[in-house]
Amino acid sequence: MQTNTAVVEPTVEHMKKRNQTSTADRIRSYLRHPGSGVLALLTIGAAIVTFAVLLFLVAYILVKGIPYLTPDLFSLEYTSDNVSLMPSLINTFIMTALSLVIAAPLGIFAAIYLVEYAKKGNKLVQVIRITAETLSGIPSIVYGLFGMLFFVTALHWGMSLLAGACTLVIMVLPLIMRTAEEALKAVPDSYREASFGLGAGKLRTIFTIVLPSAVPGILAGIILAIGRIIGETAALLYTSGTVAQVPNLMGSGRTLALHMYVLSSEGFHMNQASATAVVILLFVLLINSLSGMVAKRIAKG
């Protein structure tokens, strides 16, 4: 046995080495095929441009905004002097929670129906898939228009947190549905069969066996949804309105992204707008690292 491995290992190493080209070889090859060399340079150049733009954007926002993160900006009441972002920050949390309380169960239940109950080739399932696809392609301004026409005007809710949250529910629903569906599909059928074999009913199998094993995947979708809600502006402008206060559910209040839009379109408080951009960016960074952690957990199984 010992001799065997001793023979195998060098050959593998040997082959790996043979498959590698040295830098000098590569340069010689590019000189012989200048077209290939140019393409290689272009490819690497494009990648550098992409990541340079990203780094520059993040650095620029941080450098420009951080000096203006004063305590004044976080005072509880908004006045035209302090342009506090605190009410908008609280509204952002309320808006996120409110939207998810409705969208998460709706999306997960829909996914349960699609994966666990619907039969293959069901007409209804096809319609649901097409509409979910359509929803995920609709731009946020169209959601905003619809929210204004339906929740604000037709249902007489007025511009309110509730109207904004309901608009966002429709917006993030396809995202949550799709990720939950994928997570449920990834649960091995043997889990379900074992549960049925032990005498559990379908409902019990779903809630005690299938859903818990799909939690990381579902969570990843919900985190993505939070990211979209925090950054959303166009869908909220004419549904939740832009009043700088923390209202009750039926009152108008702006979220952080809206706060930033109002400040930068008025143009009097650009420094405070850049500070708000920093806060939003920090949230986005936090959410991205969270979803990265969840993804790692999924990969580990």
């Binding site: 272009l42 392609g137 549905m177 959410i287």
Partner: protein, 285 residues
């Protein structure tokens, strides 16, 4: 009792699944019911092809906005698609193992940055830069296209990379074995093999660009007239809705909703071609 619960929950799940159907139905119903009468009142041809938008004089022609949306999106495609394609080639075939994870999360971060932050970046950096280099006001077609070109990068890179990765490795190896260089194998053999996936990614990018609102409003200038040049301001359909909806009443307001209807129809056409493309790439595999 248990049986009843099972049945009841099955119906609950089914109703939840129908929420998306109901949402699409309501969106179509409310948009069309509020927009179509306005188009009929103004006259479909006058509305779609009229070149003058003067709500105070009851002139509602959105042709300049339609053209502006197409121009801005076209510019974004010109800026974004080549960079995005080459970057996805880099991610799929060139990227060293060690830096792959950080770069990948970089692209995810790029997709997660809200459009308002991109818009702010464009407003405080790109617009003054264009103003100082080329003159004019800076808020322009050029600024909007550059900014949107950056914004659609992650939208296109993600699907393109996975399309490239799903091309069988044997294609690449076979091409190498025939004596082609790495670049020739990638650009002449693998890219054509991943063609329909890449096309779907580009269409996705077009959809994102044409529907983008907040970033465009902040850098495009929003003048409601025919686009006059790369360095002149223009107003897209999305910008038209947001800038005037705040104070519009009566027919003016309905005309804005009708602008939304036209935008919605554009998006539906893009969605339709996207799902056709996806079906084709599924069949190809």
């Amino acid at each position: 009792m248990n049986r009843f619960k099972e049945q009841a929950m099955k119906i609950v799940f089914m109703v939840a699944a129908c929420a998306s159907v109901l949402a699409v139905f309501l969106i179509c119903l409310f948009l069309f019911a509020n927009g179509i009468p306005a188009i009929a009142k103004i006259g479909p041809l006058k509305f779609l092809l009229g070149t003058v938008w003067k709500p105070s004089n009851d002139k509602f022609g959105i042709f300049p906005m339609i053209i502006a949306s197409i121009y801005v999106t076209g510019g974004a495609i010109l800026v974004g698609v080549p960079i995005a394609l080459l970057t996805s080639v880099f991610m799929a075939r060139y990227c060293p193992q060690k830096i792959y994870r950080p770069l990948k999360s970089g692209i995810e971060l790029m997709a997660g940055v809200p459009s308002i932050v991109y818009g702010f970046f464009g407003l405080v950096l790109m617009v003054p830069l264009i103003r100082n280099t080329f003159g004019g006001t800076g808020t322009s077609w050029l600024a909007a296209s550059l900014l949107l070109g950056i914004m659609i990068l992650p939208t296109i890179i993600g699907p393109t990379e996975s399309a490239l990765r799903s091309v069988p490795e044997s294609y690449y190896e076979g091409s190498l074995a025939l004596g082609a260089t790495k670049e020739r194998s990638i650009f002449v053999v693998m890219l054509p093999a991943a063609k329909s996936g890449i096309l779907a990614a580009v269409v996705l990018g077009i959809g994102r660009a044409i529907g983008e609102t907040m970033a465009v409003i902040m850098v495009a200038g929003n003048q409601a007239r025919m686009p006059a040049g790369l360095l002149k301001g223009l107003r897209t359909m999305t910008a038209n809705i947001v800038t005037e909806m705040g104070y519009a009443t009566g027919l003016h307001r309905e005309a804005l909703i009708a602008t939304g209807v036209v935008l919605f129809v554009f998006i539906l056409i893009i969605n339709l071609s996207l799902s056709l493309l996806n079906r084709r790439s599924e069949n190809a595999n």
